[in-house]
Symmetry: C2
Subunit: 205 residues, 2 copies
């Protein structure tokens, strides 16, 4: 029997590079599945529907909430974001690990349903560095950058509710750390109760 997949939840303050880490992680681990969020926010330049996000209208999103089709959802900066439930459950049951990149609010909701998930918080080397990254990305106004940095300070307090904290100083190194965490989690005793019970059985048969 294949071991059930692991739900890997990745969060971090906006601009901390968690998107890049997830992309690289998925690129170098083809067996990992990415849970695509649904959102009502407008696509940024280069973002593709069904790849980066499932872009939906507000009334569509509200129907998904109503029909309990979302594992978690939240309204952030006036937009809805949510995780379609069925895709995640199917992949896990088939033994695939699923990566979920969501904000802390969503992550904590998922943690209530999936305490056995692996919750990883990505942090920048410093908050100055974070401001610099958001500024260079060039997609936010100065006012928005200030809001994001204030939110970052609030969000950092959430780090203690995650299982792991990874500093994103170099993308490749951060990706490797996440890979090591996932590998180690495969050996957690609570994920291997079958293994131990099978060992008993060999003795008794």
């Amino acid at each position: 029997m294949a071991q059930q997949g692991i739900l890997i939840v990745i969060s971090g303050p906006s601009g901390t590079g968690k998107g890049t880490i997830c992309r690289e992680l998925l690129r170098s681990n083809p067996r990992l599945k990415y849970s695509i969020s649904a959102t009502t926010r407008k696509p940024r330049t280069g973002e593709v529907d069904g790849v980066n996000y499932i872009f939906v209208a507000r009334d569509q999103f509200q129907a998904m909430i109503h029909n309990n089709e979302l594992l978690e959802w939240a309204e952030v900066y006036g937009n809805y974001y949510g995780t379609p439930r069925q895709y995640v459950l199917e992949q896990l049951q088939n033994g695939y690990d699923v990566v979920l990149e969501i904000d802390t609010q969503g992550a904590m909701k998922v943690k209530e349903t999936f305490p056995e998930g692996v919750f990883i918080y990505i942090i920048p080397p410093s908050l100055d560095e974070l401001a610099d990254r958001i500024y260079k990305r060039g997609t936010d106004s100065l006012e928005s950058i200030k809001t994001r940095l204030n939110c970052a300070s609030v969000e950092l307090a959430q780090a203690q509710n995650y299982h792991y904290v990874v500093v994103n100083d170099q993308v490749a190194a951060a990706v490797q750390k996440v890979e090591i965490i996932i590998t180690a989690e495969k050996f957690r005793a609570e994920r291997n109760t079958d293994l131990i019970q099978n060992l008993y059985r060999t003795r008794c048969s």
Copy 2:
């Protein structure tokens, strides 16, 4: 400030190869420190005092118990085994990881004092394999092998009290798994509270 070292506790049924794994682990990771147990049992062929064990007389051991110099101790098959406390504490404070190879009884006592330790349980691929290994080691009588196998069945129930379970099918692979677990544990949120607090400070200063 250096991160406090991690106490790594390794257990497993007798004959499961945990000794070999610890030896290989220490050989390839010179920064790891090995906590040498004190015991009243007689040295096996090739075992060196102060290297494999600290071999002491029964009255010496009882004095160590009386003076609270042991992190844990137990009487197994009529012999005392125990872990000298001071060495472990010093190494951890100096930022070194310490490997402790002890039986489940001792491990669970250590877990009461050090819940933040990493508890790894090594299991054989099967119990038949385990019987074979003990037999080939040639240090145990048939009666002793039977006792050890019965104890192994009881011990396996303890696996659920450990954080990780590693199957020792190939020594090199098992060692690598333990290394991955130790590396991943360095990223645990509860071991990195300083890191997060320092990030706050850069924002407020």
